[in-house]
């Protein structure tokens, strides 16, 4: 069923009787060509591109709970491609381009809103680093813009230019960055994949892998064994838990990242703003809520909730840079499980087990990567070779010393 304005009007006038489920609710078949474990953004996107771009016919997505229930359903919805390093920037720029055409590709309005993202600069060293980054972005074909203090004042008059402990000295903007309605991304990919024959199987937990002679033959699940030629894992924060069932240890730790939303407010913020001298970034959703976040709590956690010190730390940052939000009320806080990798960059690669593929280590940046991650993982699963934009995302980079460490923090995941 195609969605359109005409369809909406027609259904409205006929009592909305004609809307069909956005996706089917199939029972698993005994065998698939490709199984994706994880019905989050990345898994569903992988299924969409496998079906649409790579022509794969027998694909299933297996989800432990409900689709879109992981980090794609609990993030701060930011998209951007403002990366520094060669291993990353082309990939994220590819992702941003996919975002730009997403709605037409999916026939689903995920409300891609390129409202821009602004990273504030507070020191000379930070300016040097951001200029280097802006140049890297532009040399990779992305957009970047350096703003001086006067331009910042003009565009963001509500920031603290008055008594800031760390005065604003400039900013690096990416105008094509912005936000997307996060749940709709999962639903749009799911609907599109489903319409192309992908089985999306919810409430089906993978309990183990069937591995024989170094080859993965399928997965054991709460709905029984499901055979597959190739199995791709895209379970983000649950990566450690899942891959341990295949006997693997990963260069990944699971951490809690909290995020926050305020009550709905009339328009306040033009785009995404990140505070360069504290842990705070913020945007405003189409519904009017200020969506904001900051740093990891810092300890390994699968609890999907955090603690007060970080809540306070984030709000302190907000009040320092944007003291007008003091009387806005924080409505809801939540915590997601971040698959923090050892260099802050992801992995999209084969494993040492034949037929078993892995996609993870997205840290707190997985949402913006959703389209490219799905595309690159689909490419890997279909062609058994890395997508050209994802050649650096290999397991062995830690062995060879080719880390992709944007922040320069080394092998301590909670610092990335």
């Amino acid at each position: 069923m195609r969605y359109s304005g005409f369809k909406v009007i027609k259904e409205a006038l006929t009592g909305h009787k004609g809307w069909a489920p956005a996706w089917r609710d199939p029972e698993p078949q005994p065998h698939y060509d490709i199984i994706i474990i994880g019905g989050g953004g990345h898994g569903l996107a992988t299924a969409h591109y496998l079906a649409k771009v790579y022509g794969e016919k027998k694909v299933a997505v297996i989800e432990k709970g409900w689709i879109g229930g992981g980090n794609v359903g609990r993030n701060t919805t930011i998209i951007r491609s403002n990366y520094l390093l060669d291993g990353n920037e082309p990939f994220y720029e590819f992702s941003l381009k996919l975002w730009e055409g997403l709605e037409q590709d999916l026939n689903y309005n995920a409300m891609v809103s390129q409202r821009g993202i602004m990273n504030l600069i507070h020191s000379d060293a930070q300016r040097d680093a951001f200029i280097r980054r802006g140049n890297a972005m532009m040399l990779n074909g992305a957009d970047a813009e350096y703003l001086d203090l006067d331009q910042i004042k003009k565009e963001y008059p509500f920031l603290n230019f008055n008594d800031a402990r760390f005065p604003i000295k400039g900013g690096l903007a990416q105008r094509r960055g912005g936000t997307v309605r996060h749940d709709a991304v999962a639903w749009g990919y799911a609907r599109s994949a489903d319409s192309r024959g992908v089985d999306i199987i919810q409430n089906c937990e993978v309990t183990g892998f069937k591995i024989k002679n170094g080859k993965c033959l399928g997965v054991e699940t709460s709905k029984g064994f499901i055979g597959a030629n190739r199995v791709g894992c895209a379970v983000a924060g649950s990566s450690g838990r899942l891959m341990s069932k295949a006997g693997m240890r990963l260069p990944i730790e699971s951490h809690v990242l909290q995020a926050f939303v305020s009550e709905g407010l009339k328009p306040v913020l033009p785009g995404v703003i990140t505070f360069g001298a504290g842990h705070f970034y913020v945007s405003q959703s189409d519904k009017g809520g200020l969506v904001f976040g900051g740093d990891l709590d810092g300890y390994n956690s699968y609890a999907q909730r955090g603690n007060l010190p970080v809540v306070e730390d984030v709000c302190e940052g907000g009040m320092a840079i944007m003291p007008m939000i003091g009387r806005a009320r924080l409505l809801r806080m939540w915590g997601g499980i971040m698959d923090m990798s050892m260099d802050g960059s992801p992995i999209i690669d084969r494993t040492h087990i034949d037929g078993l593929y892995f996609n993870g280590g997205w840290c707190y940046g997985g949402f913006k990567a959703t389209p490219a991650s799905g595309y690159a993982f689909a490419h890997l699963l279909a062609r058994d070779a890395p997508h050209p934009t994802a050649t650096a995302y290999r397991f062995n980079r830690f062995e060879t010393g080719h880390m992709i460490d944007e922040k320069g923090m080394g092998n301590q995941p909670n610092l990335h």
Partner: protein, 981 residues
């Protein structure tokens, strides 16, 4: 002023009338009123508009669960969007405005949305606004955004102060209704430290809103007596106006006390609110219950409210929304509303009870087995349409309708650590269950014990249990103990729209559509329809939505599950979480020992982490910072300059294994360093990347002083303690950070020795022979003041760093200045420091950026193969040792007038300019007075072999392309003669 809907009695102070304004119109209420009760007393039912359809809205509740009656409170910079009129305490001069309407609340042009509601169903926006592609951001989204949100911010900095505090207790009691008061009395009498917190300004909970008796008297008396007794106990702290917002790990509770929200402007020195972190090994949740509505067509008109809210307004606030009211209930509790309001002289049009066996009343008409099926009234209820037991329909005139669908225990805090509530069939409600936060127990209505007796009894019993209080319990006060059963009745089948979430305009139809479209998990329902995502977080709406989902799926409600309750319990000002950490107080400011002296000299300061450092020292006539910096550099290189370098991290390393320890943490060797010598050290992370650099001075056989960069002082110290305690626990070595203990100044320039000789005590020979380059010693200065002297140079000049205990730092600086007059001594700041280190090619923070290796820094050979050190093994990986690895180089523009930009990238002289052809980047840049040109340091592929190559430095983001030459990074004195002079 008249208050036409004011009744007799109530807990308001009629001797204290308060004047206030709503939407510009003047009204009067009384002390003890909320804004909502005062408006109702003034016959104002219409207080807001809904989010999507802009339907007229009045209060649904009388508490913090309110979805409808939201106003913009106060004005100016204190404007407070979406404040619940139902909890806002009235104060003299209160100003409030309605929200989300234009041009006025009574006539809202956006209400046209309501006419098109059939097009604006759940999730309609996901299906349209896609063509043409560009129109989403240009046309549709701006319209949607403008319509979004309810209230608005002032866009001005919040002028009020917020505080934070910490409190400890043995038992935290949350909620001061009958259960909470009973618990606090029991716990308090046992001598335990008790905190009793309640979100309301009056303690007593539901007892304030009911006409119940305790010990054969009006419950008010028992409440007052209990509060007085608790107040008299030194071990009990009463915290009214305090909402416990979250249950965090290990018995830590967040609570927000609204200190000044009930006054016009906070009193002098008082915060607006305080965020308390309460440490409570035991917590008793007595949060009560929230009444749930029954959905029916057009059940959202002002005047339709929860039956219990009608009762609250009448009993506690002596206010009624109308003088003729009806009740729609499926349980006995709804009848209380009729009884109480009847007693207050309000005309009861009828009680519509869904049950055929509803209780009889001789005071008002009871319509058994009847339902409300629709309502009328443009801006407020005028008629209710009923369907009677026999199927006939009847129109009932009424200005208010109290709706009661039973009660839901307030389980929220029990779920903050992801415990799920369990379903209780007798109550048809979720009750606390599963895993509660450790240390928490629940009493009273919050656990589903709805009678007053049960609340009093369970509060006392749970407090005893939590604290392990021995002995017999005091007798429970006498109170009603009516059995409570609730049968589910969620909505009346209709053909129009029946609201579940009144703020977000989610109707029964939306839930059905969501199910039809496959959004069948609770989370999908919530996200697709936005049910329960409004400012009340679904406190009155989630249950109804869940019940309808269960019905559609043919499942029991508990099988459908619940969404997750997350903090905060009620929306909380962001300012309260920020506390005082804003403005200049955002982070602590660390001042150097010479700060006040520098300030006197008119220094310009710069933030370096939390430090404030002198950036340069302008003198009369200088108009541009470069003039000052160039002068400082020249003066230092010509004679002598002094710079405060106290901010460098200093770590004292002592013990017989001190040298062996440094051998582990530095990649180069320290075991053979002679006493009285200093050595440059490069520290790697275990992954082989450079972490930090500095010097280690061996003052004695078993005593080193290590310096770190300013930025990495804390990190390096942590790392060294990790190595010491976790990796080599038996090494005889102790570490202590002495960064703040010693004031340290660089004294640099050809006359630096002469200057120091004037203050170093005569028995210390600092001549070049006795104290050569890289020497160090404990000395005395100025006649016996202990000091440390290091002959090290960051500037490339003959230079020393001298350290004295911090308290002498100011005096030493003044002494250096006065003794240095004859050499024209010049203080220099961080800018000149930076210029000189770039001229000398010394790496600093921009080069030690966490991705560079010893090899990149031109120090590859320093990584000793003869010993094990942190990072040495992993630094051998091929990726860190590639043929064309980045190497530190110097960069000079061909045309000395051209700019060199840090952050620029290096491209070959000809060929494409893009990422694929990137050759490296510039890390640091400065104007060199010595070379009369800008210069830079950078990393270049195979840079060691490319000296003399002409390249392009490109910085598209600052619109710059400059032709440069690759040169040695040692621009000044490459042979190092000056430092050894």
């Amino acid at each position: 002023m008249t208050q036409p809907n004011r009744l007799a009695g109530g807990q308001i102070n009629r001797d204290a009338p308060l004047n206030f304004h709503f939407d510009g119109k003047a009204y009067q209420g009384y002390q003890g009123d909320t804004l909502a009760s005062a408006l109702l007393a003034n016959n104002v039912r219409l207080m807001g508009r809904s989010f999507k359809y802009h339907r007229p809205r009045g209060p649904l509740t009388a508490g913090s669960e309110e979805p409808n009656a939201m106003v913009e409170l106060r004005g100016g910079a204190r404007q407070e969007p979406s404040t619940r009129a139902t909890t806002a305490e009235l104060y003299h001069g209160l100003m409030a405005k309605s929200q989300n309407r234009w041009p006025s609340l009574a006539f809202d042009a956006m209400a046209i949305n309501d006419r098109f509601s059939t097009f604006l169903t759940a999730g309609f926006y996901y299906k349209t606004f896609m063509w043409p592609a560009a129109f989403w951001e240009k046309i549709y989204e701006p319209i949607i955004r403008k319509a979004a949100g309810l209230g608005s911010l002032s866009m001005k900095a919040d002028p009020d102060v917020y505080d934070k505090g910490f409190r400890h207790c043995d038992l935290l009691v949350i909620g001061a209704g009958p259960a909470g008061l009973s618990a606090a009395l029991t716990a308090g009498r046992s001598g335990a430290q008790v905190i009793l917190a309640d979100e309301d300004f009056a303690m007593g909970g539901r007892l304030n809103s009911e006409t119940l008796s305790i010990n054969d008297a009006h419950a008010d008396a028992w409440v007052a007596h209990s509060i007085a007794e608790l107040f008299a106990m030194n071990n009990v702290r009463l915290m009214p106006r305090t909402t416990v917002i979250g249950a965090f790990d290990h018995g830590i509770y967040g609570a927000v006390e609204r200190v000044s929200d009930h006054v016009h402007i906070p009193d002098e020195g008082k915060p607006r609110q305080i965020l308390w972190r309460i440490y409570a090994p035991k917590t008793l949740l007595c949060a009560g219950a929230t009444e749930r509505p029954i959905a029916f067509d057009n059940n959202d008109r002002p005047g339709i409210m929860l039956a219990s809210a009608l009762r609250s307004y009448a009993n506690r606030w002596a206010a009624t929304p109308a003088h003729r009211i009806a009740v729609f209930t499926n349980n006995d509790d709804g009848h209380r509303t009729a009884i109480d309001l009847h007693a207050k002289g309000v005309k009861i049009a009828a009680v519509v009870d869904t049950r055929l066996d509803a209780p009889f009343s001789d005071q008002y008409e009871v319509l058994k087995g009847a339902q409300v099926i629709d309502s009328k009234g443009r801006l407020g209820l005028t008629f209710a349409e009923l369907r009677l037991a026999d199927g006939s329909e009847r129109t009932l005139e009424c200005g208010a309708l109290g709706v009661s669908g039973g009660w839901n225990p307030n389980v929220h805090l029990t779920c903050h650590q992801r415990g799920r509530p369990t379903w209780n069939d007798d109550l048809a409600a979720f009750v606390p269950g599963g895993t509660l936060p450790p240390g928490m127990s629940v009493a009273g209505a919050a656990v589903g014990l709805f009678s007053t007796h049960d609340a009093l009894q369970s509060g006392a019993a749970e407090a005893k249990k939590a604290l392990g209080i021995k002995g017999r319990a005091a007798p429970v006060p006498k109170a009603e103990d009516a059995p409570v059963t609730q049968t589910p009745f969620w909505y009346v089948e209709g053909c129009s729209r029946a609201w579940l979430d009144q703020q977000n305009d989610v109707t029964v139809k939306d839930v059905k559509l969501s199910h039809q479209e496959g959004f069948r998990s609770v989370e999908h329902l919530k996200r697709y329809t936005t049910l329960g995502m409004a400012t009340d977080q679904g406190k009155t709406s989630n249950m109804g939505g869940l019940a309808i989902m269960a019905e559609l799926a043919g499942k029991a409600i508990p099988e459908v599950g619940t969404t997750i309750f997350r903090p905060p319990y009620t929306p909380t000002a962001i300012g309260a979480f920020g506390g005082r950490m804003r403005g200049m107080e955002f982070h602590p400011t660390r001042l150097t020992p010479s700060h006040f002296w520098a300030k006197e000299r008119g220094a310009v300061f710069v933030e370096v982490g939390n430090w404030l450092r002198a950036q340069w020292f302008p003198i009369a006539g200088e108009t541009h910072w470069r003039e000052s910096v160039d002068r400082e550099v020249k003066a230092t290189r010509a004679s002598v300059g002094v710079c405060d370098c106290t901010t460098l991290g200093k770590i004292d390393v002592q013990g017989t294994d001190a040298a062996a320890f440094l051998n582990k943490v530095y990649c180069n060797g320290f075991a053979k360093l002679a006493v009285g010598k200093t050595r440059y050290g490069l520290m790697l992370r275990e992954d082989g990347i450079a972490m930090d650099d500095g010097t280690a001075a061996r003052l004695e056989e078993d005593h080193f002083v290590v310096t770190t960069t300013t930025a990495n002082a804390a990190k390096v110290y942590q790392h060294m303690e990790f190595v010491r305690q976790c990796l080599f626990p038996d090494m005889d070595v102790q570490l202590i950070s002495t960064t703040e203990g010693w004031a340290q100044y660089a004294v640099a320039g050809p006359n630096s020795r002469k200057l120091l000789q004037k203050i170093v005590d005569a028995d210390h020979d600092i001549s070049n022979e006795a104290f050569p380059f890289m020497a160090c010693a404990n000395i005395t200065v100025c006649g016996g003041l202990r000091a440390r002297l290091f002959r090290i140079s960051f500037s490339g000049e003959l230079a020393f760093e001298i350290a004295v205990p911090s308290r002498y730092g100011d005096a030493l600086m003044r002494k250096l200045m006065s003794e240095g007059e004859e050499f024209d001594v010049t203080p220099y700041g961080t800018e000149a420091l930076g210029v000189m280190r770039i001229e000398k090619g010394h790496a600093a923070g921009n080069e030690l950026n966490g991705t560079t290796t010893a090899l990149n820094l031109g120090m590859g050979r320093m990584v000793s193969k003869a010993k094990d050190s942190i990072g040495s093994k992993l630094s051998e990986r091929p990726g860190l040792n590639e043929e064309d690895a980045l190497m530190q180089v110097g960069i000079k523009p061909l045309d000395a007038s051209q700019k060199v930009t840090a952050g620029g990238h290096l491209m070959k002289a000809t060929g494409p300019v893009d990422a694929a052809h990137d050759q490296g980047y510039v890390t640091s840049a400065a104007f060199s007075p010595e070379l009369d040109s800008m210069i830079g340091l950078g990393f270049l592929k195979d840079g060691g072999n490319r000296k003399g190559e002409r390249m392009r430095l490109v910085s598209p983001v600052t619109n710059l392309t400059v032709e440069v030459e690759i040169v040695s990074a040692h621009f000044v004195d490459p042979e190092g003669e000056r430092v050894r002079a």
